[in-house]
Symmetry: none
Subunit: 216 residues, 4 copies
DNA sequence: AATGAATGAGGGTTCATTCAT
DNA sequence: CATGAATGAACCCTCATTCAT
């Protein structure tokens, strides 16, 4: 379940407060600049620790970045604990999923930006080092959810479960990018207009209508 | 309709062959490494021209990158000329759209990777310099297509056109990323399985079923 | 009397108009940027000739620069033809000298800036290539002028002619720098105040009072 | 009184010895080559430090240069502490001034060469960054000295104080350039002859005679 | 004679990482 | 354990000069 560890032992021994600063600063920098344009020395400065310390916590820039990515997955996992895939109808579950995704994108915008960066071809050597990641970790949850809904007759009998799961995840991913990245944010405004694009309820309602129709 | 020009006059004066090498090499490098990790000198070397020449064709690394991105849009526009939004039913048009997107992602994988990189927060200063881009240029085409389908009664009367257009574009974008980026390629395999993920007809059929149900 | 020639034969064969543009542009660039920061290609562009042509007129950047410097000496020599060292009293001659220097600094500011640059240690390899130059060419004129004035009893009998000549030239040189270089221009304003510093008559009168007292 | 600081904090923390090497090497290079022709990497090499270190001491080539210029002003200020403008007659003070200028030009030839470079039009963007500089900082000292001499009746009653101050500074400036720059050094020899030009006492006596006559 | 594309050494600057204190 | 000065390869870009057309 847990990944290889990307931080050194020393990092576990420092104060929670210090850890937080490092996380906050590093995530903000990586999210804003992208992995390659981020300067490790700047992170140390902004976090008010020495570069030496930073290197005593993390083996390399790569590891620091991956530790941040991992932290994001952790937070997402925690958020998805509220999903309760067994409670209510599939569509109630999916609506909860979209709400959680929305919350996450708003609260943890920087993590979403980091995932977008990670999905980039140039960083494949980094994403490969992550055994688990957002997109892949929910394959089974989604599939199970849809398969059980199919068994219960909540969705149509001939639903292509793998494709439906893939489709569902696509909606989640695009939703998060649309909320987190400047680029996609301007795109969603172009499609939905300024007001609609900021109306969370309406967006979720719109997406739910699509999901219901295509799954029923 | 046309963007600001990102190449210098000199670039128009060299042989078509030389231009091609520069394009091919630069696109491959940017796609594989990402903007920031790409080395201008390496591009020059691989293209067998001097750095000085490269800089006599393009003002800066930024401009070279944007010129490549623009070239990609051009090719996409050309490909989309085959869409013929007025011919056949909406669903026939959409199926053509998916096929074109598929073709493009297969033939011009590198361009898709470049767009993914461009959508990254760290490169927003670059994407802002592009007045036109893949995602934004088809807003009106999609909306018009769906509005006219609505008028013709091909889709349901209460279809939320902006959301449907956004949704359609999301499918296209995710399809292209899924085919082009290593990261998303492994994700699609996880969802659909090795065989399904390589079966173009089946994927398009699966997506079309979703689209038809949600629009009808 | 004449220096080594710094331009190639070809330069003599082109139209007077073209020669003028080259001179005007090159002088302006060298004066504004300094020798080292000046870009030969920029000069060619601004003069609307090709770099190839420029190099067919002048062997190198060095030669182009020296040709410009030489042109300046030529103009100064022409201006000093109006000095008429034999006409009137020494002080009348010196007042004419100051007026000529003033005129030259105003009309040929760029040349004055070039001489300042040339006097710089880093360009000593260039100034050495000039057999004749502004500062040195008038040594004899000044000395002769003062010696004859001494003989005529216009100046005091114990006048130290070499020192007086040196002193006179210092006044001319500082006057020209004070008028031509931004740096010295702000310095003269600091000493004399805005109004005085722009009042040619008053400055010359002030200097003449000094000269008369020290020579008489 | 003090300028903006042109070095980084790190520079203050290194050994005095290291600071000295950097100063010595940088000053020698800038003086000999001029700002534009000086190579930062060469300075680092000659000072036996890494380029990285040099850039941890100074933000840029510009700052390194200005830090050197500032150091020169500091030394000049220190030297001029020996002027004692209140002690003795004006002419005694002025004679001390000329001696200090002579000493400075001999001991700190490189600084004089740097000032000459700085006064160049092409480096006006640098001289503008210096709030204080040799030429401007003594305006008030000179004017006060002459005004008080006028009050005391040591100089003639109708002395044009601003012009006299300007004239005095011109003598100092030209003296320093004449001693420091190869170009002006050969010029002074042309005027005064080899022997005279190297006879400090005689030069100062000659200049003092001029000053006394013109001020009395 | 004129053109201007091509060259590539060289220059200023950055930054991940090391290591002595 | 913490510090931050030190390192130097690497990067983007410039420009004097050449030479094929």
């Amino acid at each position: 379940m847990s990944n290889t560890v990307f931080y050194k032992d020393t990092f576990t021994k420092i104060s929670e407060e210090k850890k937080d600063i490092v996380f906050t600063v590093a995530i903000a920098e990586f999210a804003a600049m992208g992995y390659n344009a981020t300067n490790i020395n700047t992170i140390a400065q902004k976090a008010k620790i020495s570069i030496g310390s930073l290197y005593s916590y993390f083996e390399s820039k790569e590891d620091l970045f991956l530790a941040m990515a991992e932290k994001g997955y952790e937070l997402l996992n925690r958020a998805l604990e509220e999903l309760h895939p067994e409670e209510g109808t599939v569509f109630e579950v999916i609506e909860r999923l979209l709400n959680i995704a929305f919350d996450y994108a708003e609260k943890h915008t920087d993590f979403c930006r980091i995932y977008l960066d990670l999905s980039t071809e140039g960083l494949s050597h980094l994403s490969e080092r992550l055994t688990e990641n957002v997109e892949t970790s929910y394959v089974h949850v989604y599939k199970k959810l849809l398969a059980s809904a199919k068994a219960k007759g909540e969705v149509r009998a001939d639903l292509d479960v793998p494709m439906a799961a893939f489709f569902l995840d696509n909606i989640v991913v695009m939703l998060q990018f649309s909320l987190a990245s400047s680029y996609y944010r301007s795109r969603i405004k172009l499609y939905l207009g300024e007001d609609y694009a900021q109306d969370r309820k309406r967006i979720i309602a719109g997406l739910m209508r699509i999901v219901k129709r295509s799954f029923s």
